[in-house]
Symmetry: C2
Subunit: 181 residues, 2 copies
């Protein structure tokens, strides 16, 4: 019952994200995470031998789950032009109105050491490549990609500033650009 998918492991990763969101990414302590996850500090360190290991896992789990979700959505769409772009937009919107909390664990990782985000950079680059390959207007694809990243980034940083109306206005415009009903 161990390995990448252990129940406790998952609890710990979630707890880390919550603590980061509530206390600030820089105030993420192993003790706090352990308590939140209902585990002792020793127990936490059994699963993640160091804080570094924990934060790496946080980032990795984010990238992986995002990729899986996107792949499923892309498959369902069966790729015409701008299919990838549309899938990305769709995933973003759905995540957003599921009121899913921002992946604050990323900030905790960044806070400790900016290099921890390297996998995310790699992931983003790959995503952008795939979107541009099938794009009808590559420059516009860039703009759409950036706009979505903008919303995700602002949300992550707690700098969300748009009203709900503006949000749907923006999304509708993006959908129109990408060519989705």
């Amino acid at each position: 019952m161990s390995g990448r998918r252990s129940k406790t492991r998952q609890k710990i990763l979630e707890a880390a994200a919550e603590i980061s969101r509530e206390s600030g990414p820089g105030n993420l302590s192993l003790e706090a995470v352990a308590a939140r996850a209902g585990v002792s500090k020793g127990g936490l360190l059994y699963h993640f031998p160091s804080k570094t290991a924990l934060l790496k896992a946080v980032v990795e789990s984010f990238v992986i789950s995002f990729d899986e979700e996107l792949a499923r959505r892309k498959e369902a769409k069966a790729g015409g032009a701008d299919a990838m772009l549309a899938a990305y937009l769709e995933l973003f919107v759905e995540d957003h109105d599921c009121r899913r909390p921002p992946p604050s664990g990323l900030l905790a990782a960044l806070s400790q050491d900016p290099d921890f985000l390297a996998p995310v950079r790699k992931h983003n680059r790959a995503l952008l490549d795939r979107m541009r390959q099938t794009a009808s207007d590559p420059a516009m694809a860039l703009v759409v990609y950036l706009a979505i990243q903008g919303m995700r980034g602002m949300n992550l940083l707690g700098l969300d500033v748009m009203s709900d109306e503006e949000f749907t206005e923006a999304v509708d415009k993006l959908k129109a650009i990408v060519g989705v009903a």
Copy 2:
């Protein structure tokens, strides 16, 4: 020779940003900042009575200098339609190819306590309002704003992923949308 514009004060604020960039936003210690700024710890605490005060000042100084810069640029343009949008885009581009380092101090503040970014949120909201008021296509203004925020955000997070060619491609597209030669 004191007040908001003291030489030492400025050195300290810059040092804080540099330390944050190099050691990670969460590893910003007063001692390190003091050393970097060529001041003792006591000296630092004379200017900023607490770490909180220092971080607040970092954020404040960022917002203020950005606003000043934008105002100057807006004035030079004398507002037609989309003038604000154009000014913002122009300021962003110039900042970018001045190779100006990202304002990492913001991350240090966020890292300590997300609420510290409240002034930035307020600033962003005001900016968006002013841009939408003079926008020829409000929805498109939203998209342009988001795209720029996207680039700024990714840059801040160290998640920049675009090549120089892609950068100019994106900027050119945005300029075309805003209607600038």
